[in-house]
């Protein structure tokens, strides 16, 4: 019997879990229902209906969002039929009298042109048609007509005209917000484009100077370094795709370090510990090289002896953990905080805050850089890169072996 009971328990568990999940998803704070006077109650109801209709509209006016929001808008207006249209066509018809769709579509041209509301009678062959009048209220974003809201009713009503106007204005505000969202996304994209591939001009000058110094003494070495330099700049200036793989990024870091080593010789030692499992992880292009550059700069700053840099990439379940450590001069945490907050710094902290910004934009705010440092204690930079993030894929194939 105990076995049967156990089996029953095992079977009930997922059901319970599913029920819990469903309950959490559908639960709505209903406690407001009993609050306040009937008028206040009606206000709550209206605000609630409005808030339900808002989210779809926040992603712009398309057939799908119009369909999702139309019912809420109709109950907000209390009409028998409501339709939403964009500049070209009627997107959705909610309620009765859908046979007027074509007629409405024809009559919309005027209001869309002028941007002024209009009310007109509908012509219908059938004597018991439920809708006789239509009120058109334009939806304007930044003084440009984006579409129209049409409310239909059995008879002419000034209240309906007024209400339709108000609702249209409310919808317009939502659409404006959608527009704002859209431009924010574009801004982020532009920012990513602007932020990427900022290899420092100093690095280019220094590299070329170092190569020049080898041209006479060791032409072969100079040639190798030039090739490394060419490869690195090709990677840095590439145009396609915003993402790369950890393997490719490491390859670029290698080329970068070869050039730096040519300048500093034995003063720079690098240790790597890379779990092969995380090499295919996709990550924003050139987001580790600045960290290494930073480590090199801080490691060699104000020190005559050797600097040691350690790069680790570990497999941590669904994430890759990349750590870059140096044993250099370190930094005052307060100063670092100011730099990351956008205060700017003389020693080119741009690299760090740039990488931090990009990681946050791509992976969300809980995936920014983690820095541990103190004056004289070196610096440890940790980045957590999810193995999978919607929209992040390297596109390019790993370098073949």
């Amino acid at each position: 019997m105990s076995g049967f009971l156990a089996g029953l328990l095992v079977a009930i568990l997922p059901l319970l879990a599913a029920g819990f999940w469903l309950g959490r998803r559908t639960a709505r704070p209903q406690s407001l229902g009993g609050l306040g006077t009937p008028v206040e109650h009606a206000t709550f109801q209206t605000l609630h209906t409005a808030s339900l209709a808002a989210p779809p509209l926040r992603s712009g006016l398309t057939e799908e969002t119009a369909r999702k929001s139309a019912r809420g808008l109709r109950s907000l207006l209390g009409t028998d039929a409501l339709c939403l249209a964009d500049e070209k066509d009627v997107l959705v018809w909610d309620g009765v009298g859908a046979h007027h769709r074509a007629e409405i579509a024809q009559r919309l041209a005027g209001p869309l042109e002028t941007g002024r509301g209009e009310a007109f009678p509908l012509h219908c062959g059938s004597p018991d048609c439920p809708v006789r009048w239509a009120v058109v209220a334009p939806l304007t974003v930044d003084d440009r007509v984006h579409g129209a809201l049409v409310a239909c009713a059995p008879r002419e009503s000034a209240v309906l005209v007024r209400a339709a106007g108000e609702v249209a204005r409310w919808v317009s505000v939502q659409l404006e917000l959608a527009d704002l969202d859209d431009s924010r996304t574009r801004l982020i994209e532009a920012e990513i484009k602007a932020l990427r591939a900022q290899i420092s001009p100093h690095f280019i000058f220094n590299s070329l100077a170092v190569i020049a110094s080898f041209v006479r003494t060791d032409p072969e070495r100079a040639r190798e370094l030039l090739l490394e330099f060419a490869d690195f700049t090709r990677y840095s200036f590439r145009r396609h795709g915003d993402f790369t793989t950890l393997a490719d990024e490491l390859h670029a870091i290698d080329q970068y370090l070869a050039l730096v080593r040519a300048r500093f010789g034995d003063r720079l030692a690098v240790t790597l510990q890379i779990a092969p499992e995380v090499l295919p992880v996709a990550l924003p292009f050139l987001c580790l090289q600045p960290l290494v550059e930073n480590a090199v700069k801080h490691g060699l700053e104000g020190k005559a002896d050797k600097c040691h840099i350690r790069i680790t990439a570990q497999d941590a379940g669904a994430e890759a953990l990349v750590v870059i450590e140096d044993d250099g001069a370190g930094m005052d945490p307060e100063l670092l905080r100011r730099i990351l907050a956008g205060g700017g710094s003389p020693s080119g902290g741009i690299g760090l805050s740039n990488v931090d910004d990009r990681l946050r934009q791509v992976y969300g705010d809980d995936h920014g850089l983690v820095l541990e440092t103190a004056p004289g204690a070196g610096m440890k930079i940790t980045a957590r890169l999810p193995k999978y993030q919607p929209g992040v894929h390297s596109g390019a194939r790993l370098t073949p072996e």
């Binding site: 290698d254 090499l279 669904a318 809980d366 992040v392 790993l398």
Partner: protein, 571 residues
């Protein structure tokens, strides 16, 4: 059996696994050479890792046990476990890798851009993972009981604790090397004793009646019955009994049992004469779980066989711990090459368990009676060779068995804990991952203690059935059908996978012990897989307007080689 060798062997495997997991990366990959550091995992290494993670208690112990009890029909198990990779290779491997998804929920999200479908897939990953972990823990318990006489659940607890500790502490980081090592360990642990056993069998005059029905005792053999069983005799049988048979006490008396069913109480010792047939035991009588799916199999052999074939062929692609390994391949072509290598490695390995099963039928037929048939692999070296040599080989096999439990259990725990942390528990972070790990292991451990006795290969078969009915439709239609919609995928997984899951839990709870309903519930794949596909297709067609906008571009990325994808225009 002498535990003087076996216990150190098991301890050695456990310690080696933990140490290689914790320090392997540090030792093998610390370098200042970028070329060495950024070498990706080659197809062969990755294939060994996949095989190491995949070959579980069911493969190591279970198949031999089933072959021992039920004969050559059970060879469909190794065939199915292997052929699953063929289906994976043909339909899924490369596109799955190109999708960039790490886990199955990732794939659902990448393909359908829908959070709810992602969560649903996550729920099924947890379900399949738990169903699969359960037999691993039971197998570990059985192994330790056979080796040392420890209580049934101790081995499971040990494996659970070791795996939870290493996974939660962030160990197993160089998991590819550990798992590849485990594959070769498992292969050695079966291959070397097998060679000796075959030599011993030759020396014994190479008897060939392994599959002659019924199995018979080749020499006088005393059998200790640990749990009350009902014996069904086809013909009268003479045994010497010390204990209780049919409610009457006997003390070393020779007893002639007539044909029919006899109840043997626990603690009874039966001594069979040389040449007597091994009676069939029906363990459902003692009130525990249905001991085997044998009843359904005996009644509907054709249905059961096809159910098994469908489940194993299509279920492999939905095993959460196998799927994540493909992420390690650098690109789609490498994923395909890896799968081919997996087929070879696993094919090699699966030649061995049936050999143990056949030899077990010759040399340890009483295991069918005591219900410990899964222990055949462990007992054979001692039984056939004996002496210190037999003990050493037995210790090797025991170590291999523990490697099997540890590797599969750690892979599954990682997968389940990952899903729990990411999609179920409220926020992210290391602490939550530890919590997720504990939860991932606690449920199957509790179940392993409470739910007894399903043969491990059968229990794993049930996990395959759920995976085949939920993830196979999602993956195959997701990769090959552009009209799949999020509601369709969700409905298909719920109906196909959900019904298979209910059937499986009903079977494990021992609901209908006989009849065609039992066969339907014990081998659900044959109806639940088509049901899942059908629901997914029909609901998708009904919700045609919900096809995710970027489908064409996503499918292009799944199917085009990466070298083309790099220059591909933005679709």
């Amino acid at each position: 059996m002498n535990s003087g060798y076996a216990v150190p062997a098991v301890a050695l495997v456990v310690v080696a696994t933990v140490l290689v997991g914790a320090f392997g990366l540090r030792v093998s990959r610390t370098t200042s050479d970028f070329y060495v550091a950024s070498r990706t995992v080659g197809p062969r290494l990755n294939a060994a890792a996949i095989s190491g993670e995949y070959l579980s208690a069911a493969s190591f112990l279970g198949i031999a046990g089933l072959v021992l009890v039920q004969g050559p029909d059970m060879l469909w198990y190794p065939v199915g476990y292997t052929a699953g990779y063929l289906v994976l290779l043909l339909f899924v491997a490369a596109p799955l890798r190109r999708s960039g998804a790490y886990t199955l929920p990732d794939f659902a999200e990448a393909r359908l851009a829908s959070r709810p479908v992602r969560r649903l897939a996550g729920a099924f990953v947890v379900g399949v993972g738990w169903l699969y972990l359960l037999p691993q823990l039971q197998g570990a318990g059985l192994t330790l009981t056979v080796l040392t006489g420890a209580p049934d659940s101790l081995g499971g607890v040990i494996v659970a604790v070791v795996v939870t500790a290493t996974v939660a502490a962030g160990g197993m980081r160089s998991i590819t090397f550990v798992q590849a090592f485990q594959y070769w360990l498992k292969l050695t642990a079966l291959l070397v004793p097998a060679l000796f056993l075959v030599v011993a069998w030759q020396g014994d005059g190479a008897p060939r009646h392994a599959f002659a029905e019924p199995a018979a005792f080749r020499e006088q053999r005393a059998v200790h019955v640990d749990d009350t069983v009902d014996l069904t005799l086809e013909a009268p049988l003479t045994v010497t009994v010390t204990g209780t048979v049919d409610g009457r006490r006997h003390d070393a008396t020779a007893l002639r049992l007539p044909a029919g069913t006899h109840r043997i109480e626990r603690g009874t010792r039966l001594t069979f004469a040389r040449g007597s047939a091994v009676p069939a035991a029906d363990r459902s009588a003692d009130g525990t779980m249905s001991a085997s799916l044998a009843a359904g199999r005996a009644e509907r052999p054709l249905y059961a066989t096809y159910g098994l074939i469908l489940a194993t062929f299509l279920g492999t692609m939905g095993l959460p711990h196998v799927v994540v390994r493909f992420y390690t391949s650098p690109h789609g072509v490498a994923a395909r090459r890896t799968t081919v290598a997996v087929l070879a490695l696993i094919g090699c390995f699966y030649l061995l368990p049936p050999l143990y099963g056949a030899l077990g039928r010759l040399y340890a037929p009483e295991l069918a009676l005591t219900g410990d048939a899964d222990a055949a692999v462990l007992l054979l070296p001692d039984r056939m060779i004996g002496g210190p040599g037999g003990d050493l080989l037995g210790a090797l096999v025991a170590g291999g068995a523990f490697a099997a439990f540890l590797s599969t259990a750690s892979g599954l725990t990682m997968a389940v804990a990952g899903v729990l942390t990411q999609d179920v528990l409220p926020s992210r972070g290391v602490r939550h991952f530890r919590l997720g790990t504990g939860l991932a292991m606690a449920v199957p451990l509790a179940a392993a203690v409470v739910v007894g006795g399903l043969p491990v290969a059968d229990a794993v078969g049930l996990a395959f059935a759920v995976s085949a009915s939920s993830f196979c439709p999602l993956l195959v239609l997701g990769i090959w059908w552009r009209r799949l919609t999020p509601p369709g995928a969700a409905a298909g997984m719920l109906v196909g996978g959900g019904s298979a899951f209910l059937a499986v839990t009903a079977t494990m709870a021992g609901l209908p012990a006989t009849g065609s309903l039992h066969a339907l519930l014990a081998w659900p794949a044959l109806w639940s897989v088509p049901l899942g596909f059908l629901t997914m297709v029909l609901v998708s067609l009904a919700t045609a307007s919900r096809v995710p906008p970027g489908t064409a571009a996503i499918l292009a990325r799944f199917h085009l080689p990466e070298s083309l994808g790099a220059t591909e225009v933005k679709a």
